[in-house]
């Protein structure tokens, strides 16, 4: 698969047409998707029409956008008018988006081509992609293994060479962890950097749209297009969008990189070895690597499960058969109407709603929800202090590499711990990126992660790009 940079250049130079590029992508999808199951729907007709429009624009001598002719996949929780958006749930089986999300609008304005919607864990709750109503996604690196989740379809689509760019969402690691499992780059910008207008909510204080691409430069280019204030999303930040693609070429001399104490304790040896190798490599590139203390970060996963479940229990209240979702119009009374209409939720989704509702009951509110909110505040203060000492943090992305589809990660706690290194980013509102850095003994990709403070996406892209380039 060509990189985004190569595609845009080939189309601008007239070496290829957007139609040719899109047809090549469609051919790869037709060949590989029956096995990988990354796409749940391909918008072939619309994609070809969009590609032709890009070619006509060029023929008229008009300037093309920065993603001209680039095929892009979108996760199944991102709205694109007239197309289904189901969150891979039976609950939204027939939901057709009545408007287009800001992220898709921005992609289209940049002359990108939307190729289809990708598989995901139901309502983005999971880290294996096993809870999708469309069946599991297979990891293109080894089809016996999971691609990670919840944006598993988006990561697999990029890893299989179906598309050079895919959008995902990341509430606790759902872009970065599958990127690590599939050997691609996955970035979650800081909270507020990208608009969430038209993205189906899971946990609003943590949800962010993220980017999956084959390399860091392509990620930077996509982020330039997607970032910025949106009047439709009051949580989007009013701040200029830097030229990330230029920023990344700066060398790392003097960059201060923090390795959080305790993050390596008990870590799987192969991953620990890759992380330490990355730290050594960064030193060779001129960075100053130092150990730092973020004592409360270890509580992030527990805080995450309480707060995001509580928010989900509220956000998913809208699937009541009246506002959204399946409706049982044969119910004899209102209670039965609600209960029957909410029956299509899968087991994991129901469980998170139950956890959230329970944590918000008067009996548990203080010791569960309020406690988690207070610990979150301490975690935030931790990060605020640490970013006064260093520019970026270096951590593992995941404590494990891709496990087998039918085996590992079945216990709820082991699955929750899969988010151990990615949750702090959402709890702290940080920017995070996972970049592939070698393989483990089983020849499976290992990702390392950089964190930066809010609005410092350029710094972590720079560190990731220079590290990637040095391999």
């Amino acid at each position: 698969m060509m990189t985004i940079e190569q595609i845009v250049s080939a189309i601008n130079n007239g070496e290829k047409t957007a139609e040719q590029i899109v047809k090549e992508s469609l051919a790869v999808i037709a060949q590989k998707n029956p096995t990988i199951n990354a796409f749940v729907e391909v918008f072939e007709k619309d994609a070809l029409a969009q590609a032709k429009a890009v070619d006509q624009k060029r023929a008229r001598g008009e300037k093309l956008g920065p993603l001209a002719g680039v095929p892009v996949a979108i996760k199944d929780n991102i709205l694109y008018k007239g197309h289904k958006a189901t969150c891979c749930s039976k609950m939204l089986a027939n939901y057709v988006a009545p408007y287009t999300s800001t992220v898709v609008e921005r992609l289209l304005a940049a002359d990108a081509v939307i190729l289809g919607r990708t598989n995901m864990d139901e309502f983005a709750m999971g880290s294996t992609n096993r809870t999708s109503v469309y069946g599991p996604v297979k990891n293109p690196v080894d089809i016996e293994r999971v691609p990670g989740g919840s944006s598993g379809g988006s990561a697999a689509a990029v890893a299989a060479g179906m598309v050079p760019l895919a959008l995902g969402t990341d509430t606790g690691g759902s872009v970065r962890q599958p990127a690590s499992f599939c050997g691609v780059v996955g970035m979650k910008p800081g909270y507020g950097r990208i608009s969430r207008y038209g993205v189906i909510a899971f946990a609003s204080s943590a949800d962010q749209v993220g980017v999956l691409a084959a390399n860091v430069k392509d990620t930077a280019l996509a982020l330039e297009v997607l970032s910025g204030k949106d009047v439709h999303d009051s949580t989007s930040l009013e701040a200029p969008v830097p030229a990330y693609t230029q920023q990344i070429s700066q060398n790392l001399k003097g960059l201060k990189v923090g390795l959080p104490k305790g993050f390596l304790d008990g870590l799987y040896e192969d991953i620990k070895a890759r992380l330490l190798a990355a730290a050594e490599q960064l030193k060779k590139l001129g960075a100053e690597v130092m150990e730092v203390d973020v004592p409360f970060a270890k509580y992030s996963a527990a805080v995450y499960y309480i707060i995001t479940s509580a928010e989900a229990s509220s956000n998913l209240g809208r699937y009541d058969g009246i506002r959204y979702g399946y409706a049982d119009q044969t119910a004899p009374d209102l209670n039965a109407y609600y209960e029957n209409s909410r029956a299509p939720f899968g087991l994991e989704v129901k469980k998170r709603i139950i956890i959230g509702t329970y944590a918000l009951t008067s009996k548990r509110y203080e010791e569960c929800f309020l406690k988690a909110m207070k610990v979150r505040e301490l975690i935030r203060q931790d990060f605020k202090k640490v970013f006064e000492q260093v520019d970026v943090l270096l951590t593992p992305t995941s404590p494990v590499t891709a496990f087998r589809l039918g085996k590992g990660g079945k216990s709820p706690i082991s699955l929750y711990l899969a988010d151990l290194y990615t949750c702090p980013g959402n709890i702290g509102g940080l920017a995070g990126i996972s970049v592939p850095f070698g393989k483990d003994k089983k020849n499976l990709p290992v990702g390392v992660q950089f964190y930066g403070p809010i609005l410092q996406e350029g710094k972590i892209l720079q560190a990731a790009y220079q590290l990637e380039k040095s391999i």
Partner: protein, 93 residues
């Protein structure tokens, strides 16, 4: 933090969801495991911790009346069934 099957059933009821007896047993076991783990938070001293705005630098804005009629029409057009400037919704019961 002890969790019982009744706790699971109460939360499900509050969330307007039906759970079968079998599901309630599964959730009870899983919630027990989860909340035992979450109990580690009780060891953290949070005395005097004040909550700040979750949105960090972003702020929740006050409601603003929309006077743009094109926007109103755009929103109305998201409904397939309309009549006299009103959106028709399906019957509930």
């Amino acid at each position: 933090m002890s969790i019982t099957k009744q706790d699971v059933e109460l939360a499900a009821k509050l969330a307007k969801m039906k759970v079968s007896d079998e599901e309630a047993t599964i959730y009870e076991d899983q919630l027990k495991e989860l909340f035992t783990w979450v109990d580690e938070l009780s060891a953290v001293n949070t005395d005097g911790v004040k909550l700040t705005n979750v949105n960090l630098a972003a702020h929740i804005r006050p409601d603003e009346p929309i006077s743009d009629s094109a926007r109103a029409e755009q929103l109305r057009n998201t409904f397939t069934d309309q009549e006299a400037d009103c959106a028709k919704v399906k019957k509930v019961l």
